[in-house]
């Protein structure tokens, strides 16, 4: 194994006050080994390493030398703490720290009231030792639930090998693993079975674009929606952002194999929120969007209510009924129709709107309006065309 790049040495030749000149030719040093290492990856940007060593100290002043090479230790963050694991610990104090010029090293002058071994913990921030999360989601054949496996991947490009190390990724349990130089280690944090999942179909021109602009057909991406809630067996903590590889069982039953559906980058999902995992674009749901009407009603002077009616003609070629979400982004829509002004939109639904229910409250605000519509399954070779209208009134607008 590559020798450690981080070294703690106690100089025994120079132990009592006053310190002898450092040029002393005859030196004896002890090299206390690491008894324990903890790597804390709970901070989003920094990695904290804590190592415990048992340091032999004599009565009087001791010099404890900490040096490192080819590692990215931040020297301003190094902390030396005594860990009291003894009923009658020696009285140990750090008198001063010196930083020799042009060296990656520091020297603690440590006073002890008697000769004894002291367990100390040396902590520092270390660059090059990073983590990320990734997931494997295996959906049941009927896409009603999935098994979610959460992994943490630790990459050690810090230039230092750590033997059995307690690694805390910021959630889940602590792992006890060795991690060598330039090694990447992936560990299973948790596996959650039977997580309910909803498959969604969404058409939203200004987020997902056209499938075929010449024919006014919208892209209809499909997502698995996972709610990070206790009812779903989740909800203990946020799901960190990470890549999700999505699979589906190709048949019911335990002996089914899995098919790869795709992968997506999931955002950080706090407790109570949901993650939408992109599965691809639905080919069997066709949504044609056209502008049915445009009209301005003068209120007075240059003040108008500007009306626009959008028409959606929707066909479901699947042999199962689906629910489609239709969303319009308000400001991009104003831009699209040449209705932008210096004032934010004051929008309302017009009477020509024909959705069977009102907008989805959780997905509608000043910036977006979302409706949901149930589409029947294809009957035979024919898909029923469902036509709905959305009238938006941009009130009290002037240019």
């Amino acid at each position: 194994m590559k020798p450690s790049a981080i070294l703690v040495a106690v100089l025994l030749a120079l132990l009592t006050l006053p310190p002898a000149p450092a040029e002393a030719r005859i030196k004896l040093i002890t090299l206390p080994v690491r008894e324990r290492v903890e790597v804390q990856l709970d901070h989003p940007d920094f990695t904290l390493v804590e190592e415990e060593r048992v340091v032999p100290l004599v009565a009087g002043v001791n010099q404890v030398d900490f040096s490192w090479a080819n590692t990215q230790i931040d020297p301003s963050t190094i902390i030396f703490r005594l860990v009291e694991d003894d009923d009658d610990p020696a009285e140990v104090n750090v008198l001063s720290v010196t930083y020799p010029p042009n060296e990656n090293a520091l020297v603690w002058q440590v006073a002890s009231d008697r000769s004894a071994s002291a367990r100390v913990r040396i902590s520092y921030l270390l660059g090059g030792l990073t983590k990320d999360f990734n997931y494997r989601a295996v959906a049941e054949h009927d896409e009603s639930a999935l098994t979610l496996s959460q992994y943490v991947r630790v990459r050690n490009f810090a230039g230092e090998a750590y033997a059995d190390t307690e690694i805390f990724a910021g959630l889940g349990a602590t792992f006890l693993k060795p991690i060598g130089v330039n090694q990447t280690k992936q560990m299973l944090v948790q596996r959650l079975a039977d997580v309910p999942v909803t498959k969604t179909y969404t058409a939203d021109l200004h987020r997902f674009g056209w499938l075929d602009a010449a024919q006014y057909k919208l892209r209809v991406p499909m997502h698995y929606r996972i709610d990070n809630t206790a009812e779903n067996g989740l909800g203990n903590e946020a799901l960190p952002a990470g890549k999700v590889r999505i699979f589906q069982r190709d048949a019911p039953g335990s002996d089914a194999t899995t098919a790869f559906l795709g992968e997506d980058l999931a955002d950080h999902t706090p407790v109570g929120n949901h993650a939408d995992l992109f599965l691809g674009v639905a080919q069997d749901i066709v949504v044609k969007r056209t502008v049915e009407a445009r009209k301005d009603d003068r209120v007075a002077g240059n003040l108008f209510h500007r009306r626009v009616t959008l028409k959606y003609e929707i066909e479901n070629f699947k042999d199962t009924p689906v629910t489609l979400n239709l969303a319009e982004q308000i400001e991009p829509l104003r831009q699209e129709l040449g209705l932008a002004s210096n004032q934010p939109a004051e929008w309302a639904l017009g009477d020509a709107t024909t959705f069977p229910a009102g907008p989805l409250a959780d997905e509608t605000d000043q910036t977006v309006v979302t409706h949901s519509i149930d589409l029947p399954a294809r009957s035979g070779d024919e898909a029923e065309t469902v036509t709905v209208f959305l009238e938006l009134v941009f009130r009290n607008q002037w240019n």
Partner: protein, 483 residues
């Protein structure tokens, strides 16, 4: 390499033993054979004054004088000593010793020779003082909060960094905290030159600064020399003086050239702390910042001195019964006077959600200006016709907004939101909101673990000719359209 004695002889005092210098003619070509002694430093004291990159060095040496003229050569090659600041003072037999003249040789810029006239034959103690640059100090802090974040261990440290070119062994070290205002001292020096402060040019002010600093520093009383009785961390004596503080490191320290040395300044085991989440975009940016709030006072086990500017590194114990830490933040803290509150900004907390959702915007009370006239009409007034060529001149814009805060931590959290509401505005809500200033509203509260709270409010901003003033008024009411 702490105790290195190199052969650079910086700064060096030489006593000439020959006839050299008797007549003050030390450059005479006939005097090529010299004999001299080199008296060692007895004591040295450094007073480091960071804000001016200025350190006052006072060193004492014992010199044996003979009656008559005694040439003393002082040289400082390779150092950053200010040659105009070098002074010689006699600490013993001062009534019998006098500097007759001082010679600065033209060919050796970092050297001078004092010609001391003496009526005393024997040993005397002299003090040589001068200013040097290149010695600096900084403070830093390590804060380790308990697992339950009700208190924290706070350690202060000072680090002295010597890049002056000179080794200072066994030096008493004093650190000046704060930026000293030297105007009074400079004005006093100017008066001695028959000028007022206002008459001084900038370069004259800069010339007088070191002398003024010296005058200021000279008034500080030397802290007592305490010999360490046992190997224990040295105390740093904090001494208030006029408008600033001097920290004196107990005993003496070796501060070799190019060396950085860090010493503990204070340690408080259990400083009470309070956690608060604050939204103050002007202060912390557009985010909900998590803060540790503490006070530099005696009740907090602090308060013996101001806390100088410095880097703080903040950790939290992962549990009460294990030594493991989590790193939380690193930040600069500014000078904290005794008695003052201070805060550590830990950044955002991923377990506390904070969203701004604009639910809707609508306009009311729209006024139009009739074309070609200074006449205004309100839209919707019954029986009032408005010409089609009129233009909108004033309106009230209503924005219904939700601040959503979600507490996914296992603890109660205290949230304070301070937001600017510019213009002629009304803030309508059922929140217990107060006005921080003319344009700023404050509200907040406590969230239980797992709680999601939607703070809903409506901001009415009068625009165009409707705007009459620039202030926010807080009104208790339900947000949303009233018709």
């Amino acid at each position: 390499m702490p105790n290195t004695h190199r052969n650079k002889l910086l700064p060096c005092l030489i006593v000439f033993l020959g006839a050299l210098g008797v007549l003050g003619g030390s450059t005479s070509a006939a005097n090529n054979i010299d004999l001299s002694t080199v008296p060692d430093r007895d004591t040295v004291q450094l007073t480091i004054y960071n804000s001016e990159d200025l350190t006052l060095v006072r060193e004492t040496r014992k010199v044996v004088f003979r009656e008559g003229n005694n040439p003393l050569q002082f040289s400082w090659a390779g150092t950053l000593i200010d040659p105009t600041s070098v002074q010689l003072r006699f600490l013993s037999h001062a009534d019998k010793l006098d500097v007759l003249d001082t010679t600065f040789p033209h060919d050796r810029p970092q050297e001078l020779t004092w010609n001391v006239g003496s009526e005393h034959a024997g040993e005397a103690t002299i003090e040589i003082s001068y200013f040097t640059s290149g010695v600096t100090w900084s403070a830093d802090y390590v804060v380790i909060a308990d697992a339950d974040e009700s208190s924290a261990a706070v350690e202060g440290h000072v680090t002295v960094h010597n890049r002056s070119g000179e080794d200072y062994d066994d030096a008493q070290v004093r650190l000046v905290v704060g930026t000293i205002n030297l105007v009074e001292q400079i004005a006093e020096l100017a008066r001695q030159q028959g000028k007022s402060f206002e008459q001084l040019r900038e370069n004259e002010v800069q010339t007088l600064r070191p002398r003024a600093a010296r005058m200021m520093l000279g008034r500080a009383e030397a802290a007592s020399d305490l010999a360490p009785s046992a190997p224990a961390p040295k105390q740093i004596v904090k001494q208030g003086l006029s408008e600033y503080f001097i920290f004196t490191i107990e005993g003496t320290e070796d501060i070799p050239n190019q060396m950085r040395k860090r010493l503990p300044s204070f340690a408080a085991d259990a400083v009470p702390l309070r956690v608060q989440y604050r939204y103050r975009p002007r202060q912390y940016g557009d985010r909900l910042a998590r803060l540790y709030l503490m006070t530099n006072d005696a009740a907090s086990d602090l308060g013996t001195s101001p806390l100088p500017d410095g880097q703080a590194r903040v950790f939290r114990r992962k549990s009460a019964d294990a030594p493991g830490l989590s790193f939380l933040a690193r930040q600069s803290i500014r000078y904290i006077p005794v008695g003052e509150d201070f805060e550590l900004d830990l950044g955002t907390d991923p377990d506390v959600g904070f969203e701004l959702i604009t639910k809707r915007i609508y306009r009311e009370n729209v006024w139009l200006r009739l074309r070609g006239a200074n006449v205004f009409r309100r839209v919707g007034q019954p029986g009032v016709a408005i010409d089609d060529r009129s233009t909108v001149a004033g309106w009230d814009q209503h924005a219904v907004i939700v601040r959503r805060v979600r507490n996914d931590t296992p603890r109660k959290i205290d949230v304070e939101i301070r937001q600017a509401v510019p213009g002629d505005a009304t803030f309508i809500s059922r929140l217990d909101a107060t006005r921080f200033d003319n344009q700023t509203v404050v509200y907040g509260g406590t969230l239980e673990p797992g709680q999601r709270y939607d703070a809903m409010y409506e901001i009415v901003t009068r625009q165009g000719r409707n705007a009459k003033q620039s202030r926010v008024e807080i009104v208790a009411g339900d947000p949303g359209p009233r018709k």
